[in-house]
């Protein structure tokens, strides 16, 4: 009961917050991207946290989603809302294509294979100029603002859509974690051989998570395309700024927990923005350098993420309350 009140309170704060920020300002943009990246990290968490397969190629699905919906608008005038599901479908197929051969791989090998897959998609998007516009990128065409056309004058509706998306993917994550599938995944994570013996089809379960994660990631790609309005292959298929970043957010926050990606995004995205703000006048690379240093420091300090800080604080708090 207490838990539910806490969750509702957090959602209420998140729902009011965008209203307090200037609708044309800089911070609403930061907030929108924080929510969007939290959602992306949560989607990564389904495969990275629950199935324990560290994917470094989620940009592949993300980019597929962004390109599919935008190309459908440009060539056929189809609303991005529909394009989002088309992108999700293709993202699921892509996830199947990469997951079938690589799901048996573990740890470092799987990370390498998915990293390469993301890069394959980036190269294809750069070369297939007739469809994607090549390295020049695509602009989402301007249409009169309406909900049906997924076009708004301000960022405010985008912030709310990102918030709703985050809530939806978090609910999906929790639902999977608590379902029979979640227990199967945990069994596989603890001991794959034993899981096989008691009759779990490990490959099938892992494939399911990969496809769910791919579909959702592609759908978030559409949300990104609508907010960013312009993108090119090197942004949406980027290994560093999409694949690695979303994994990082989930890891810094706490892998395999529903709250982890949200904590991670609340930390990383504003910190990045702040760095860019503070040091953009200074030498190139400084903000990224500091970002890397923070990353190393956090991993050495808390290899299991911020969630452990949170937990130990809570433990100390409840101990005090008891004594």
């Amino acid at each position: 009961m207490k838990r539910w009140i806490a969750i509702l309170a957090v959602i209420a704060i998140a729902a009011v917050l965008p209203l307090l920020l200037s609708p044309t300002g800089y911070w609403i943009r930061v907030l929108t991207f924080t929510l969007l990246f939290a959602a992306m990290a949560q989607v990564w968490n389904i495969i990275g946290g629950l199935a324990n397969q560290t994917s470094l190629g989620h940009a592949a699905f993300f980019g597929i989603g962004a390109y599919t919906s935008t190309i459908l608008v440009l060539k056929f005038g189809i609303s991005p809302w529909i394009g989002m599901f088309a992108g999700g479908f293709l993202g699921g197929i892509a996830a199947l294509i990469i997951a079938v051969p690589t799901m048996r791989l573990q740890g470092h090998y799987f990370a390498l294979a998915t990293l390469a897959f993301g890069e394959v998609m980036r190269v294809i998007a750069n070369v297939w100029t007739s469809l994607t516009g090549g390295p020049v990128g695509l602009s989402v065409p301007f249409v009169p603002p309406s909900i049906a056309a997924y076009s708004f004058k301000q960022l405010l509706p985008h912030a709310y859509i990102a918030l709703i998306a985050l809530i939806i993917v978090t609910v999906i994550f929790e639902a999977i974690r608590r379902s029979a599938m979640g227990y199967r995944l945990r069994a596989i994570k603890e001991n794959p051989a034993a899981a096989e013996v008691i009759g779990i089809d490990t490959t099938k379960v892992k494939l399911q998570t990969a496809v769910i994660s791919g579909v959702l990631m592609a759908m978030l790609g559409t949300l990104y395309a609508q907010v960013a309005v312009f993108f090119d292959p090197d942004t949406v298929f980027s290994a560093a700024s999409i694949s690695i970043r979303v994994a990082l957010i989930a890891i810094l926050g706490g892998v395999g927990t529903a709250i982890g990606p949200i904590l991670g995004a609340l930390f990383i995205i504003p910190v990045e923005e702040l760095m860019n703000d503070l040091f953009s006048s200074g030498a190139a690379g400084l903000s990224q350098l500091i970002f890397g240093v923070i990353l190393i420091a956090v991993i050495l300090w808390r290899p299991r993420g911020f969630i452990t800080v949170f937990d130990s604080l809570m433990a100390r708090f409840s101990n005090k309350a008891r004594s």
């Binding site: 890069e119 890891i251 290899p303």
Partner: protein, 274 residues
């Protein structure tokens, strides 16, 4: 070209073989090696190929510190922490050099740069030949070191069974430091010998990272002999694909080979199945 690929990749495979860690920052040490060699050429007038041992030494020192101070702490952590520690290292090294050296492209001029030898109908460019020769010498030296020296044997023992090695009185922490430093040193050495025909800038590691991983995976992660075979194979694949496909697709072909090999034969072409 294949011989050079072998040397820069041996470092990666050595680190994995001994410590079980994939160093995502490995290609950054190639960049460090190239920069050391470039500065040696620009300020000391040293030929880049002669500066290769210097590159090796600098990277060896950095590797020693990185292993002792950072990586040693995550050796027992989940693989996720290991992956992201080296990814963090990659970001730090790349942007650190961007900060120190700026983003301009630098190259060296040597007397033999445009020379080539003709062997019948075959023309071989001299800088490529020198790079190949140096790589070969370096690979042989490593092989000799691993086979015959006490350190080599101790390191192989550590790779096979760290606990047993420790019980035999081997300082495994020291072995890890040597392995990591040696691994990144070799990659830096490779960076120095390719300097005559590759320009250096802070992002140069990114151009080689796929290539290195493809070489290593082709040969089997952790296998030094495999890296040599993989290096030659990748050289041949590149040469062949440039005959049939436009240059932009060259990397794509490598990627596809890479994923295919991972999926079908993750232990590599020459590796024994474990």
């Amino acid at each position: 070209m294949g011989g050079v690929y072998a040397v820069i990749s041996i470092g990666l495979t050595l680190v994995y073989g001994v410590m079980g860690i994939v160093n995502f920052a490995q290609a950054e040490f190639l960049m460090i090696g190239m920069f050391v060699s470039w500065f040696a050429w620009a300020y000391l007038g040293l030929d880049p190929v002669l500066a290769a041992p210097l590159s090796f030494a600098v990277a060896f020192g950095i590797g020693w510190l990185v292993q002792g101070q950072l990586i040693a702490r995550v050796l027992k952590a989940p693989s996720v922490a290991q992956i992201f520690l080296t990814v963090g290292l990659l970001i730090v090294i790349e942007n650190g050099s961007l900060l120190l050296f700026g983003s301009q492209f630098r190259s060296v001029t040597t007397s033999y740069q445009t020379m080539s030898l003709s062997l019948g109908a075959l023309f071989i460019s001299v800088p490529y030949l020198i790079a190949f020769g140096m790589s070969l010498a370096c690979g042989l030296a490593l092989w000799w070191f691993m086979r015959t020296s006490w350190f080599g044997r101790a390191m192989r023992a550590t790779a096979q069974n760290p606990m047993a090695a420790q019980l035999m009185g081997i300082d495994t922490a020291l072995m890890y430091k040597i392995a990591f430093a040696l691994g990144v040193g070799l990659t830096a050495f490779g960076g120095a010998v390719i300097l005559p025909y590759v320009t250096v800038f802070p992002g140069v590691g990114g151009q080689f990272v796929v290539l290195m991983f493809t070489v290593v995976v082709l040969g089997g992660l952790g296998s030094v002999a495999g890296a040599v075979v993989g290096g030659l194979a990748v050289g041949v694949i590149q040469a062949l694909s440039s005959l049939f496909f436009p240059i932009q697709l060259q990397n794509l072909i490598l990627f596809i080979v890479f994923i295919f090999v991972l999926a079908v034969r993750p232990q590599g072409l020459v590796g024994a199945s474990r």
